[in-house]
């Protein structure tokens, strides 16, 4: 993105009706490594590619459990993500304390969006530089939401955000009609196939740099462990969406 006039702060509109600071914040999301989510009638799967700042460092976690029935995957500024994660966890805990039941997903995303929007309407604040993919299950069904620094939020059947996410979205556009009736295993394999489209040529998927989180109507949020990841990545060799069509 090039530099523009009228981009000094959030309280200045451009003549074309844009808030450039907010748009720049959304660029920060695009710089984060890819994370994607996809849902079926019963399950939601979050997949993300973890970055390693240097060979000496560990890999940066990108998925965080908010409650048994809800989890997020982040792309962008990790520090901002931590703030939102803490907020969501506190809200869920308070809701559980008062009502003894799980916080409805859409409602929490609405609250996060409200919080994000507030930061875009002040001279002294900056927008959050992180996009969240929120996966959750509630009485209304299975949900996948995307939030962005602008304070907008959208519900998706499947979505990818972060760097080189267009490749994953292209994969989704071809195959998302299969997701609704997919089993959990098929969903995970679709997610990993989509991530594979988005990695650089000299990189490869392995159990260290990929993170997969699963959530289901009767399944609390869990991460796949290293062995399970290895097995699924191995299954990728023989997995093709075409075979799923033949089964149905």
């Amino acid at each position: 993105m090039l530099k523009h006039l009228y981009d000094t702060d959030c309280v200045t509109w451009s003549p074309q009706g844009k808030l450039f600071q907010v748009e720049y914040a959304m660029e920060a999301v695009k710089q984060g490594s890819i994370c994607l989510g996809l849902k079926s009638n019963e399950n939601v799967v979050l997949c993300s590619l973890k970055r390693q700042p240097s060979e000496l460092a560990g890999y940066q976690e990108k998925q965080f459990k908010i409650d048994d029935h809800m989890a997020i995957a982040i792309a962008g500024l990790t520090a901002d993500a931590r703030v939102l994660c803490k907020y969501m966890r506190t809200e869920c805990l308070e809701y559980k304390y008062t009502y003894e039941s799980h916080h409805p997903v859409g409602r929490l995303v609405f609250k996060v969006a409200e919080k994000s929007q507030h930061k875009t309407q002040s001279g002294a604040k900056r927008p959050y530089g992180v996009g969240l993919l929120v996966a959750g299950i509630d009485p209304n069904g299975v949900h996948l939401f995307e939030t962005c620094p602008s304070g907008n939020y959208y519900e998706y059947k499947c979505q990818a955000i972060g760097s080189r996410s267009q490749a994953a979205r292209t994969y989704f556009e071809s195959w998302f009609h299969l997701f609704e009736k997919s089993t959990l295993e098929q969903l995970i394999l679709h997610g990993l196939s989509a991530i594979k489209k988005a990695i650089m040529e000299d990189e490869e998927l392995n159990e260290k740099n990929v993170e997969v989180g699963i959530l289901g109507k009767n399944l609390k949020f869990t991460h796949l462990n290293a062995q399970e990841l290895k097995d699924y990545i191995a299954k990728l060799e023989t997995f093709s969406p075409n075979s799923q069509i033949q089964q149905e």
Partner: protein, 236 residues
């Protein structure tokens, strides 16, 4: 140890009740939950307000009744209605379930009890949600108990024997109603603050049904009342 200055600095609206409602009896039956209460609000020992409808429908599948200070009951009804109304602003079609109301009330009661400013109520929340019957008692201290039958006030002393002999959790609606009416007959005879006009409401899969108040049959024309020993009434 609570120092007097601490208490006087806090608001203390209801530490002794003024206008009180009577006992509440609630039973689970095979298709839902049924609640009975009388229609009297007493002003101390005076039967001041008769024909009071004390059964509040909080949402489509939840009813709330309580015994104790009636103004606290009215306030709680407003609080519970507020939760449902606030749910509308999120546009997601998710409404509180009966259990949500029960737990919310428990938290509210406990908070007020901690400030020595209690809601002077024994609360009963009944509902039917996702094919499951729900019945809970929340008392003045914020204790929360889910149960198949609930009694408050004097009904806890007089009626438990009747309930355990004639009711089970899979009985029919008619059987449960009959048990409740028997209990209120006994209460009218034994509890000085009870009334013989009662109101019954039940929640089932179709929703809430609140019936018209009715008088329980009690017999007073015993010979012993008409002609007391060695005495004749003026009219005779």
């Amino acid at each position: 140890m609570i120092f007097n200055s601490e208490i006087s600095a806090q608001q203390q609206h209801t530490t002794s009740p003024v206008v009180t409602g009577g006992s509440v009896i609630a039973l689970v039956y095979n298709g839902g939950v049924v609640i009975g209460t009388d229609t009297l609000c007493s002003y101390g020992s005076m039967a001041e307000f008769k024909n009071v409808e004390k059964i509040a429908q909080v949402s489509k599948n939840t009813i709330y009744v309580s015994s104790g200070e009636f103004s606290d009951f009215q306030q709680v009804v407003k609080e519970l209605a507020k939760i449902d109304r606030q749910a509308l602003q999120y546009d997601d079609g998710v409404h509180p379930s009966p259990r949500d109301y029960g737990n919310y009330l428990a938290r509210l009661s406990y908070k007020k009890r901690c400030k020595i400013n209690p809601l002077y109520l024994q609360n009963v929340i009944a509902g039917f949600h996702n094919g499951e019957r729900y019945l809970a008692l929340v008392d003045i201290y914020g204790t929360y108990l889910e149960s198949n039958f609930v009694t408050t006030g004097f009904a806890s002393y007089f009626c438990k024997a009747i309930i355990s002999n004639y009711w089970n959790e899979n009985c029919t609606l008619e059987q449960a109603k009959q048990v409740i009416k028997e209990c209120f007959k006994v209460l009218f005879c034994r509890d000085c603050r009870a009334h013989d006009v009662i109101q019954i409401a039940y929640v089932d899969e179709q929703g809430t049904h609140i019936e018209q108040p009715e008088r329980v049959e009690t017999k007073w024309d015993f010979n012993g009342f008409k002609t007391r020993a060695n005495e004749k009434l003026h009219t005779q």
